[in-house]
């Protein structure tokens, strides 16, 4: 069972209390963008074995969206952080580096 700590209310929320929101840190490409950019925004997703960044919503609790960094292979959670950011905060990156040296996910490492 996946347990994520909501960064807004501090509740250790069980997976069944949350809604999954897909991959985190997507940059939107809308009208005026190239076809490749739009395709990437709409369809191209990471499917890593290891470190992954996801969006989650504490839907049965405070209702807020947040981001989670976790390992898809071991279900280990490296940390959660508020969604108002374009990239993972340094302490989350450090926590991942401590457990998974040389990790890489899209442009982050």
């Amino acid at each position: 069972m996946l347990i994520l700590t909501c960064p807004y209310c501090g509740v250790k929320a069980d997976e069944t209390e949350l809604s999954a929101g897909g991959e985190a840190h997507l940059k939107r490409f809308g009208p005026g963008s190239s076809e490749d950019e739009f395709e990437g925004y709409l369809f191209v997703r990471e499917n890593p074995k290891g470190v992954h960044f996801e969006r989650w919503r504490h839907s049965y609790g405070c209702g807020k969206w947040f981001h989670a960094a976790r390992c898809t292979m071991t279900l280990e959670v490296f940390g959660t952080y508020p969604a108002q950011t374009f990239e993972p905060p340094q302490d989350i990156k450090d926590a991942i580096s401590a457990k998974r040296p040389n990790w890489r996910w899209r442009d982050f490492s």
Binding site: Y8, C9, G10, V11, K12, A13, D14, T16, E17, Y60, G61, C62, G63, K64
Partner: protein, 177 residues
């Protein structure tokens, strides 16, 4: 069959949803004046059933007041916060309130909610919004049991659920005694 706790459905209670910047001094003052209770800290509930404030999310509070006073309190709050960007809505008729009472009341809730209800993790004065079997609910602990609130549209389901969970013998992590 023995019962772990007594489940009763309570009368409608005056409830007002408040959304806005709950850290602002003007909002804090207006809420205190309206309910007699202070704006609670994260995950907390303050006051009592005749004037209570529950923390629902970083920008949302639930004010609990006597049913008959709701309209006056909304009018007072709206007047006091006329220059602030806030939402104040009467949700009294959209909620149902239950009481789960008895020494094993925590076990009844533990059967239907993914929450650690041990006294060390969840004590008096805390409110928890969570999933209760298939629907959303919130509850808080007091000296003799729990009060549970949910949407009135699912009140019959929640009542049957709690009644069923209250039957039979203690099981699980909270069963040790």
């Amino acid at each position: 069959m023995s019962e772990l706790a007594k489940v009763t459905r309570l009368a409608l209670r005056g409830m007002i949803t408040f959304r806005g910047d709950v850290s602002s001094a003007r909002v804090k003052k207006a809420i205190k004046a309206a309910t007699g209770a202070a704006v609670p800290k994260v995950r907390s509930i303050s006051g009592n059933r005749d004037g209570g404030v529950a923390w629902m999310s970083p920008d949302e509070l639930l004010l609990m007041v006597p049913y008959g006073d709701v309209q006056n309190i909304i009018a007072d709050l709206s007047k006091a916060l006329v220059n602030d960007h806030v939402l104040i809505a009467d949700v009294s008729d959209a909620r149902a309130v239950f009481r789960v009472e008895g020494v094993e009341a925590a076990q009844v809730l533990a059967r239907v909610c993914p929450v650690d209800l041990h006294k060390d993790s969840f004590d008096i004065g805390e409110i928890r919004r969570t999933r209760m079997a298939q629907v959303a609910a919130a509850f808080w602990r007091d000296e003799t049991g729990f009060e549970v609130i949910c949407f009135r549209s699912v009140a019959d389901y929640v009542e049957a659920l709690l009644q069923r969970a209250a039957q039979a013998t203690p099981v699980g992590a909270l069963g040790g005694r």
